[in-house]
């Protein structure tokens, strides 16, 4: 067992992937000498050199666009977008190029690229540094989208994402970067594209991913004091969704709440709620509820606590789904 932070978990996973495959490259703004603004790539350039750990010019479209070319040449680029709000200059390359190349080439060209994006709020940042744009990638066919939520799965998932032959958007919950846990580096990880029950319960199924997994586990802890047994599922993979464990859970509890920081409209919660309704209609005791950010641009940081789903709002959602 090694105690490490989530940031360190990604770092160790990147290091391991680079050691195992010399075609793995790491690129992005400030990721080399500085080690990234969150220090996720700390030490990699020192150990693997500037040819494999590339400090790029300041241009996100170029970061993704050149990664596509490098991948066509047989490399496995792992690119960092410094903050969620700065992925949009690369959006065209991601949506129109990266996501479609496999189909466009008649199923021949693979682009094993990982785009790492620190996402979500809760760190008191200025505008564009707290966004949750995951749905915009989930709705794009051709991309796989995953979110880690703790140091252990960060370590495993980043390696699995790099090994994946499809492009993977890899969301890292930035306000959990400094959370620590004991990680067994030799443990056999569960498959990348699988959700995971992280706490068993019988009353309500609570679905979360990324930063809200911790929030929901805390809510479950608090709910237990009132005799509520919440089952918490970490979705982990947003595209493809792995909902069989969710359906099984909802058939047991009859109630589900989906929790995410991203806005409500057309968020991941909307898709999950629709599919749960389709699959578990006759097991549901109440409509599936969403506890999410509001349909606003991310607010100034001094009111972000009002915007973000916290323990109280999760429990409020749970109360409502129990009444419903």
């Amino acid at each position: 067992m090694t105690t490490m932070s989530l940031a360190k978990g990604v770092n160790a996973g990147l290091r391991s992937a680079m050691e195992h495959d010399d075609r793995v490259l790491v690129m992005g703004e400030d990721i080399g000498r500085l080690g990234g603004v969150f220090r996720v790539t700390d030490g990699l350039q020192k150990d693997f050199g500037p040819a494999r750990v590339i400090d790029t010019p300041l241009a996100e479209s170029a970061i993704v666009g050149t990664a596509i070319g490098l991948a066509m040449r047989g490399f496995r680029p792992v690119v960092e977008i410094q903050f969620d709000g700065f992925v949009y200059p690369a959006y065209d390359q991601i949506v129109s190029q990266l996501a479609r190349m496999h189909l466009r080439s008649g199923g021949v060209t693979t682009l094993p690229i990982v785009i790492r994006i620190p996402f979500g709020g809760g760190i008191g940042a200025v505008e564009h540094h707290s966004e949750s744009p995951e749905a915009q990638f989930v709705m794009t066919a051709g991309l796989k989208v995953v979110t880690c939520s703790d140091p252990g799965n960060a370590y495993a998932m980043i390696q699995q994402a790099i090994a994946c032959d499809d492009p993977v958007i890899f969301f890292e919950p930035k306000r959990r970067y400094w959370d620590t846990a004991d990680v067994d580096l030799s443990a056999e990880p569960q498959p990348l594209f699988a959700s995971q029950v992280v706490r068993s319960g019988t009353d309500v199924t609570v679905l979360a991913y990324g930063p809200t997994v911790r929030t929901c586990l805390d809510a479950a802890e608090a709910g237990a004091l009132d005799g509520l047994e919440l089952e918490v599922i970490d979705l982990r993979t947003l595209s493809p969704l792995d909902l069989d464990p969710v359906f099984a859970s909802v058939r047991k509890t009859g109630r589900a709440v989906v929790v995410h920081e991203a806005a409500r409209t057309l968020g991941v919660g909307a898709e999950v709620a629709a599919r749960v309704s389709e699959e578990c209609f006759f097991s549901l005791e109440a409509p599936v509820l969403r506890v999410t950010g509001y349909d606003l641009p991310y607010p100034p940081s001094r009111v972000e606590d009002d915007f973000l789903p916290d323990l109280d709002r999760v429990l409020d959602g749970v109360d409502r789904v129990l009444e419903g």
């Binding site: 000498r33 500085l34 010019p57 940042a125 001094r302």
Partner: protein, 366 residues
């Protein structure tokens, strides 16, 4: 293979000596220079004070401009009231020149609002955090000035231009290069003012370009010029000339102000991880304030001028400290109404939900 003069335009040496340049001269007299010096000192004070406010937890973040005062004050004072400026998060000195109350520079960094002023009031856009985006806005606004017939009358009260501020890092962005193309083909009255402060966070300027940035303009079809960004007189003169050309219908200019970010990128940054102390020391010797003071003392400015200015800076600092703490706290509820000009029934509904939820706590508390 260098296509332009490397030597930046300089009118005041680091030793405080005024020098002549074949093309550019500073039009003001010593009393104007005293006013510029006052700007430099007060802007530095705002910066120092805001940095301290961040350290004390009153601001979430601050982007220090220390070292770039001359570039910002020189160019900012070259603007006419009818011109329109498009800043980044670091242009506190430009905001000062546009008449923005320094307290209004703080909300975006305190996290109490997304910005601190109404753009039309100061003819200063809200700062762009997304690197490079504002250069296109400046270009479009300039195209609008042309469409509205506010260019090319040789009428200083009527003709107008825009200025776009950005850094060396920004020059790598597609948006900035696209702005250059558009400004060129539409002969837009825009001045691209690049503060090459040598660093984009940890990336040295050499990661963005292998030629002087000013040289890039030629490829797009308009003039580029390098100026000593720590020389307020040169920055004023060069920007005034470029703005004049733009207002006159002569199209865009790229100005590369060679300067140095003496502080951290932001208060979250630790520059010792990527740059040497010697580099900083070399630039400290070229400090933009010292040279003006040396000059002003040499021409016989009375010591009382400097003492009074120190006192004024003290008072400004005090005002800023108090004003920061007195900034109104934001209310999430009001944001629901500001997203759309025409409102939105869905957001109105979400506002009610939010207020109802919030109210439920107040009820249970009472």
């Amino acid at each position: 293979m260098h296509l332009i003069d490397h030597e930046p335009v300089q009118l005041l040496t680091p030793d405080g000596v005024r020098v002549a340049h074949p093309e550019y001269s500073y039009a003001g007299d010593d009393s104007d220079i005293r006013l510029l010096y006052r700007d430099l000192v007060l802007v530095r004070r705002i910066d120092t004070e805001a940095t301290a406010l961040q350290r004390h937890g009153e601001l979430g973040l601050w982007a220090p401009l220390r070292g770039q005062e001359a570039a910002q004050v020189g160019s900012g004072r070259a603007l006419l009231p009818q011109d329109f400026a498009f800043p980044t998060y670091r242009e506190h000195g430009v905001a000062w020149c546009r008449g923005v109350d320094p307290i209004a520079m703080l909300p975006m960094f305190r996290g109490s609002a997304l910005s601190g002023w109404a753009p039309e009031e100061y003819r200063l856009a809200v700062p762009s955090i997304v690197i490079g985006a504002q250069t296109l806005h400046a270009t479009g606004y300039a195209m609008g000035l042309t469409l509205d017939g506010q260019v090319g009358h040789q009428d200083p009260d009527r003709d107008a231009a825009t200025i776009a501020y950005f850094g060396d890092g920004a020059t790598s962005q597609g948006d900035v290069n696209e702005a250059f193309v558009w400004a060129a083909v539409f002969e837009a009255p825009v001045v691209f003012f690049c503060q090459n402060n040598q660093w984009a966070i940890s990336a040295p300027a050499s990661r963005q370009t292998t030629v002087p940035l000013a040289q890039r303009a030629a490829g797009f079809g308009f003039p580029g010029i390098r100026v000593d960004g720590n020389d307020v007189l040169a920055c004023q003169a060069v920007t005034a000339a470029a703005l004049h050309t733009a207002r006159d219908g002569g199209g865009p200019t790229l100005i590369e102000a060679c300067t140095y970010r003496m502080g951290a990128h932001t208060t979250s940054d630790d520059p010792t991880r990527y740059r040497d102390a010697e580099e900083l020391a070399a630039w400290e010797a070229k400090d933009p304030l010292t040279r003006v003071r040396t000059y002003l003392e040499a021409v016989g400015t009375p010591p009382t001028f400097f003492d009074d200015l120190d006192r004024e800076a003290e008072l400004l600092g005090e005002r800023l400290r108090e004003g920061c703490k007195a900034l109104p706290e934001p209310d999430l509820a009001t944001l629901f109404d500001q997203v759309y000009a025409g409102g939105s029934p869905e957001l109105a509904e979400q506002r009610r939900t939010y207020e109802g939820y919030r109210g439920s706590f107040e009820e249970s508390a009472s």
